[in-house]
């Protein structure tokens, strides 16, 4: 990147922004040349500075801030105390070290403070500690001895084994999970088998004996059963019987009602039929008289037609009667609505009463 590499290697420019960075390419070469020539001077920026810079101001600046990218604050004792309290909590003791570290980091503790807190709290996981030390290669003593090695060299060594251990821990936890699952399945199977055995041995015989008892009781103690207090089932049966009887009574009553209604209707129909017949006869007689009066010539035809008409009307009225009786029968079977069936059945009846000609086709 042209503009970025044009940044001069002078460390003071690192602390004050350099506005003139829109550089032409010749300065680029200058910068790269300068850079190549003094790689040794740039490390001095980050370690305790050697006065290799030209100006004394720069040197003092460097000494006061040996590296801009390092925590230059002193350790905050209260933060360390809080961290020690946190780490001493029993629940925290059970968690992996990496989670404890990341929690403290999230709370804003610097590395030195975290390491100091870890140093102060005795680590209850000797296996973790000893393996980390063994991998460290620096301390091979027992777990209780804390390393006196510099903090920073401990960090990556501890970080790597703690990460590895946490991963191993999680993996062993996973393996425990699997064995846990197998154990659970086994337990379930055993319990199922046990219940099956128990059912077979204890419950089934009990069932059989109870059945036998019931049968025997029925055979022997019929009378006693009658006299003694009836059981719930018998009470229920009696209640059911009473209910059935009541229902039967109700059904009978409704049926009788229906029958009576049917009879009434029949009588009514017969009456109307008779009336019909009477009307027909009167009509025929009147027509005959008219014809006799009006047409003395065509006597034979009129008299011939009338009895036929009369017969036809009688048969048609009989047919209508039969038709409606069939309707009644079909409707009486449906005992749900006898009153409603009466009306539609009577409705066509007046029609037939009014218009006997409709039945002629």
């Amino acid at each position: 990147m042209a503009t970025q590499s044009a940044a001069p290697p002078n460390p003071t420019d690192g602390n004050q922004p350099n506005p003139e960075l829109a550089q032409p390419t010749n300065q680029d070469q200058q910068a790269s040349g300068a850079e190549a020539s003094n790689p040794k001077s740039t490390p001095s920026l980050f370690v305790n500075s050697e006065p290799m810079r030209e100006s004394g101001a720069e040197a003092s600046n460097l000494k006061s801030t040996p590296s801009v990218f390092v925590n230059s604050e002193p350790m905050r004792e209260e933060q360390v105390q809080n961290a020690v309290k946190f780490l001493s909590h029993p629940k925290v003791r059970g968690s992996p070290v990496i989670f404890r570290r990341s929690f403290l980091e999230k709370k804003g503790l610097t590395k030195e403070e975290i390491d100091e807190a870890f140093r102060r709290v005795p680590d209850p996981q000797p296996s973790v500690q000893s393996t980390s030390f063994n991998q460290d290669g620096q301390v091979n003593s027992s777990s209780s001895i804390q390393p006196q090695a510099p903090v920073q060299t401990l960090q990556p060594a501890a970080a790597a084994p703690t990460a590895a251990i946490s991963s191993v821990g999680t993996s062993t936890r996973f393996r425990f999970h699997w064995s846990h699952a197998i154990l659970a399945v086994g337990l379930l199977a055993v319990s199922g088998a046990g219940t099956a055995v128990v059912v077979k041995n204890a419950i089934l015989p009990r069932l059989k004996s109870w059945i036998r008892k019931v049968v025997s009781e029925e055979g022997n103690d019929l009378a006693e059963k009658k006299d003694s207090k009836p059981s719930l089932a018998e009470e229920a049966a009696a209640a059911a019987k009473a209910a059935a009887a009541a229902a039967a009574d109700v059904a009978k009553a409704s049926q009788e009602m229906l029958r009576s209604r049917n009879d009434e209707k029949r009588f009514f129909e017969e009456f109307t039929n008779l009336l019909d017949v009477q009307v027909q006869e009167m009509k025929s007689m009147s027509s005959a008289i008219n014809k006799l009066e009006g047409q003395t010539n065509t006597q034979g035809k009129a008299s011939f037609v009338d009895p036929e008409d009369h017969r036809v009307t009688i048969s048609s009225s009989k047919q209508s009667y039969v038709h409606h009786k069939a309707d009644y029968d079909s409707r009486s079977v449906r005992s749900s609505s006898p009153p409603t069936s009466a009306e539609p059945s009577t409705a066509p009846h007046p029609k037939s009463y009014m218009d006997p000609e409709t039945f002629y086709h």
Binding site: T3, S5, D13, P17, V68, F69, I98, E105, Q152, P156
Partner: protein, 318 residues
């Protein structure tokens, strides 16, 4: 404004430090969850070609999560692959002889790659196996492994001024500053209460870092006084996926988020949000600012589009 449609979902876009009209896009199939990946190297339209064109493309067996251009060779690319490997591609060679190197050491997905802009011979890879690894091109194995984070490391970025200093952002909600010469991290900054998805150094102030987190904010820190951030930038609707400082203006930075927008911020101003582009129709996951052309932005997202536009213009305009 040139738009390129990738067949897979975009993950990262980077401008080439050598050619101002060249950029590389890392893509992964099926949103990077499962499937293949592809790296596209695109040429922006110029006087000779009016359309954005694909210079080369490399297929990978697993999704490509990030890539970095080499600072030493104009045709080398470092790709972080979802199977944990780091692959080096050479554009000057035919696709059959690519990748020229494949380093498989991470046990989980490699999420980011960054090339050292000062030394120009080494690069970092950050992985979901909680470690950051330092590599050089000539060695077959990693030079150093930095394993201190307690959760996935989402990003590792070199300091643009100091050759051996880098920062790593992790899902354990801390930002760590490392020095390659030291055995462990030199600073631990508990930057957010939620996962930190990205970090970047200020190109003009080598002590200033920005972190982008799942808590929808971007915090700008000064490592000299890291207890309190310099500023907290809110404005995104969802997690901020990536943040990049501008190589041209000190306070300017660009960020992309799962709210499908790309936002421009200037943390030195009172009202920090200076621009917002909502051209994407899916998560915007990759964004970059060109070093060679001031104000040129590129972004990519899961909607399989790569947009390249000048700051202040509409990315979707033609």
């Amino acid at each position: 404004m040139p738009v390129f449609k990738t067949p897979f979902n975009g993950y990262s876009v980077k401008f080439s430090p050598f050619y101002e009209s060249r950029l590389a896009v890392a893509t992964a199939q099926n949103f990077g969850i499962l499937g293949n990946g592809r790296i596209h190297v695109l040429d922006l339209p110029s006087s000779t070609s009016p359309q954005i064109s694909e210079l080369a493309s490399f297929d990978t067996a697993d999704g490509v999560y990030d890539l970095a251009w080499s600072e030493s060779h104009d045709s080398l690319l470092v790709a972080a692959i979802a199977d944990g490997s780091i692959k080096i591609y050479d554009l000057s060679l035919p696709p059959t002889s690519n990748p020229i190197r494949s380093f498989l050491e991470h046990s989980r997905e490699a999420h980011s790659a960054d090339y050292n802009p000062v030394r120009r011979d080494s690069f970092l890879s950050a992985s979901w196996d909680d470690s950051v690894k330092l590599w050089t091109l000539d060695r077959p194995t990693s030079v150093r492994t930095f394993k201190e984070h307690a959760y996935c490391v989402y990003s590792a970025v070199w300091n643009p001024r100091h050759a051996d200093v880098f920062a790593s952002a992790s899902g354990d909600c801390t930002l760590r500053v490392w020095d390659v010469r030291e055995p462990g991290s030199t600073m631990i900054i508990p930057a957010h209460d939620f996962e930190i998805l990205s970090c970047d150094w200020n190109k003009y102030d080598d002590c200033c870092i920005a972190t982008a987190s799942v808590d929808k904010t971007i915090k700008v820190w000064d490592v000299r006084s890291y207890r309190v951030p310099i500023s907290v930038l809110s404005g995104h609707g969802y997690a901020v996926r990536k943040v990049r400082f501008s190589p041209h203006r000190q306070g300017l930075m660009v960020s992309c988020s799962y709210d499908m927008t790309v936002c421009l911020w200037d943390y030195m101003l009172e009202d920090a949000l200076v621009g917002r582009y909502d051209h994407h129709t899916e998560f915007a996951v990759g964004v970059d600012m060109s070093v060679l052309v001031e104000g040129l932005l590129a972004s990519t997202g899961w909607d399989e589009f790569v947009y390249v536009w000048q700051n202040g213009t509409d990315p979707r305009a033609f």
